[in-house]
């Protein structure tokens, strides 16, 4: 309606051709776009510039040709192995976070008493930060922690179970910090699904298993894929907990640690940049695979308010 009246007033001088401003407005270009400027500057200065700087740096190794640092990384088995070590941590952690969020969020999608308290409890770990989580893990799961003292006191084990300063310590840390994030995302995706769809399925004779499998899960799947990608990327760049509750020279020598050592122990920025680029590439490959799968799901309206 407004476009019609605007057209009439704008095009008064030349009735055949609407004004430039009007033609741009029809394509969604108007003065309000300037509001995007701060965000654009932010992305440019703090993300794109460092990225391209690092990219060109990685092709200027201290010795050898442009790809020498990449060759160096992939020819060194100890370094190359960091990709596998990091994937081994990040993939299962992200998968577990998403998988655990679904049933909990599914139970919590309705309205009930104490929902806010429960949500707060589940989300609190986000505010803790990695260091505090690591400290908690050491106190609780460490060789002299409560868990091992209890287990030994009950005579279930003779020697402490090693759950920190190895793979498991880092894995637990990733789950604790990643779960609230995944849970919040899944909960919001779930509440975006129209609840009458499930009621309709009920009236057609579907029990809760069929309702979940045929209605809720297919509508939630794109959201789960997105959640997985985000939690995976967070977990893949694991750094503090790999040092604090991991085994930073052995099974949790993750790729970000390799980049850190190259940069700050060997002071070889081009090599560190090359490692960072490899890291980014691996993340990109995983995300691309997941998003390809997502594009094959139904991603249209789910009827809800979300």
């Amino acid at each position: 309606m407004t476009t019609l009246t605007e057209r009439r007033s704008d095009s008064a001088p030349s009735p055949q051709r609407p004004s430039l401003r009007h033609r741009l407005a029809e394509r969604g270009v108007d003065r309000q776009l300037w509001l995007l400027l701060p965000a654009a500057v932010f992305v440019l200065v703090l993300f794109l510039y460092p990225f391209f700087y690092g990219l060109q740096l990685s092709f200027q190794p201290t010795k050898g040709g442009p790809l020498a640092d990449y060759q160096r990384f992939f020819s060194d088995a100890y370094q190359r192995n960091t990709i596998w070590l990091t994937l081994r941590l990040a993939l299962p952690a992200a998968l577990l976070n998403v998988a655990a969020s679904v049933p909990i969020a599914y139970r919590m999608r309705g309205r009930f008493r104490g929902k806010r308290t429960l949500t707060t409890l589940l989300v609190v770990p986000i505010t803790l930060g990695t260091v505090l989580t690591a400290q908690g893990l050491l106190n609780y799961l460490g060789p002299t922690g409560w868990l091992n003292r209890t287990l030994m006191g009950l005579g279930i084990v003779d020697d402490p179970v090693r759950l920190t300063n190895n793979y498991w310590g880092v894995f637990f840390s990733l789950v604790i910090t990643g779960f609230p994030f995944a849970f919040l995302l899944v909960l919001s995706y779930l509440s975006g699904i129209d609840p009458t769809l499930e009621r309709a399925a009920t009236s057609l004779g579907a029990d809760w298993k069929a309702r979940f499998r045929r209605i809720t899960l297919p509508l939630l799947l794109p959201g789960l894929a997105t959640t997985f990608c985000l939690t995976f990327v967070l977990a893949f760049s694991v750094f503090p907990s790999a040092v604090l509750v991991g085994d930073p020279t052995g099974e949790t020598y993750v790729i970000s640690l390799a980049a850190y050592r190259a940069a700050y122990e060997q002071v070889d920025y081009p090599y560190a940049s090359a490692i960072a680029m490899v890291m980014g590439l691996v993340e990109l490959v995983v995300v691309a695979v997941v998003l390809f799968g997502r594009s094959r799901c139904y991603t249209g309206s789910t009827g809800g308010k979300g």
């Binding site: 309709a200 399925a201 057609l204 004779g205």
Partner: protein, 384 residues
């Protein structure tokens, strides 16, 4: 489609009640639905009609009363085991499934043989004229088409009862008329027992075999469209049935039979009492616009038996064959009438009422606060 074998003879709601917190949403609904009947639950929003439907569907547990399907108690059964079809206001089609998959869903849940699933799905899609759209997703259909899918999805199971929750309220006026006929035609050809919730009296009157009028969670009247249309049991029902003129008057002496004299606002009319009316009691006189006879001013009052009042035309709305006219009586009372006479604002006319068409109801002074509707009308009347 052949009728399902597991149909009931009667579905009996016995004192069905539902409370939300401390709030009564539905109080003691008693109604017996015969097989093949089309029942409309009618009332303004918040009257408990959707609550009643959800209670029958099993989507809301009852807080009182029982539901019997012949001799089987079913209010304790989970909704998926009641075998009732349901059509929702927003259609609730599964957005990620094609029209065909939506319709087939219920058949799959019943684990019917593949061949039968396919045959019945196609049959239902043909029934609602959507053969050309079977492979589309619901998001690519118009509102009316989506509604037809919703209906096909519910009736493909040949349910013993179909529950419809304001299925036409999201459609535009033209489509609504078409779908109304469609629903009636489906009901006639399939003989499906239907409970239909609506706030539109015209829709209810045209579709239903029997109407249940609800107000504040309580049944006001149950009856056929003709009964409700001609003999509303209370002024609330009358208000809903198109008795647009409601005037607060005072009862005079009773006449022959149920006739009663009412007066006030310069009116002195004979009407028909509905319920007990004491002499001198405050009453509500209800009159439908098309039950008013509009005469020219030249027809002078023929004595006390005239049963009429003089008025002046204020607003004339053209409505096809007739005019809807708002008039102001000599005493400043605003009335609505319908007439084929061509009138213009300012015309002086005379109105005459058949005593049998002027219904006189007792007020419900016990709940004076709920009288907003009437006092509002009365206020407008006095202001005018």
């Amino acid at each position: 489609m052949k009728p399902s074998t597991e149909r009931f003879q009667t579905l009996r709601l016995d004192g069905v009640s539902r409370r939300f917190g401390g709030q009564d949403a539905l109080v003691g609904l008693d109604v017996t639905i015969a097989a093949g009947e089309f029942i409309a639950l009618l009332g303004p929003s918040g009257c408990g009609k959707s609550t009643a439907l959800n209670c029958v569907a099993g989507l809301l547990p009852l807080t009182g009363g029982t539901i019997w399907q012949d001799d089987t108690r079913i209010d304790t059964l989970p909704p998926e085991r009641r075998g009732f079809g349901m059509v929702f206001q927003n259609y609730a089609l599964f957005p990620h499934m094609s029209v065909r998959a939506n319709v087939a869903f219920g058949l799959q849940m019943r684990k019917l043989p593949k061949e039968e699933q396919r045959r019945r799905t196609e049959e239902a899609i043909r029934l609602v004229d959507l053969e050309g759209h079977a492979d589309k997703l619901p998001g690519h259909l118009s509102g009316g088409q989506q509604q037809r899918v919703a209906i096909a999805r519910a009736v493909v199971l040949e349910p013993s009862l179909v529950l419809m929750d304001e299925p036409l309220s999201n459609l535009d006026a033209k489509l609504r008329l078409g779908m109304r006929t469609e629903i009636r035609r489906l009901h006639q050809s399939l003989g499906l027992t239907t409970v239909y919730v609506t706030h539109d009296q015209e829709e209810a009157l045209s579709l239903a075999d029997r109407l249940v009028v609800l107000r504040d969670g309580r049944v006001q009247q149950i009856g056929t469209p003709e009964e409700l249309h001609a003999h509303p049991a209370s002024w609330h029902v009358a208000d809903f049935m198109g008795y647009r003129n409601m005037v607060r008057l005072r009862a005079g002496e009773a006449g022959a039979g149920r006739e009663v004299l009412v007066q006030g606002h310069g009116l002195r009319l004979t009407g028909t009492a509905v319920g007990k009316i004491g002499q001198g009691a405050e009453v509500i006189a209800a009159l439908r616009p098309d039950d008013v006879e509009v005469l020219g001013v030249e027809s002078t009052p023929a004595g006390p038996t005239d049963n009429g009042v003089g008025a002046e035309v204020e607003v004339v709305e053209y409505q096809g064959r007739e005019f809807a006219v708002e008039v102001l009586t000599d005493d400043g009372l605003r009335l609505h009438v319908r007439t084929e006479r061509r009138l213009v604002p300012g015309d002086a006319i005379r109105l005459r009422v058949d005593p049998s068409r002027l219904l006189v109801f007792p007020t419900d002074d016990s709940a004076a606060t709920e009288d907003a509707a009437v006092s509002d009308r009365a206020r407008r009347a006095t202001v005018g």
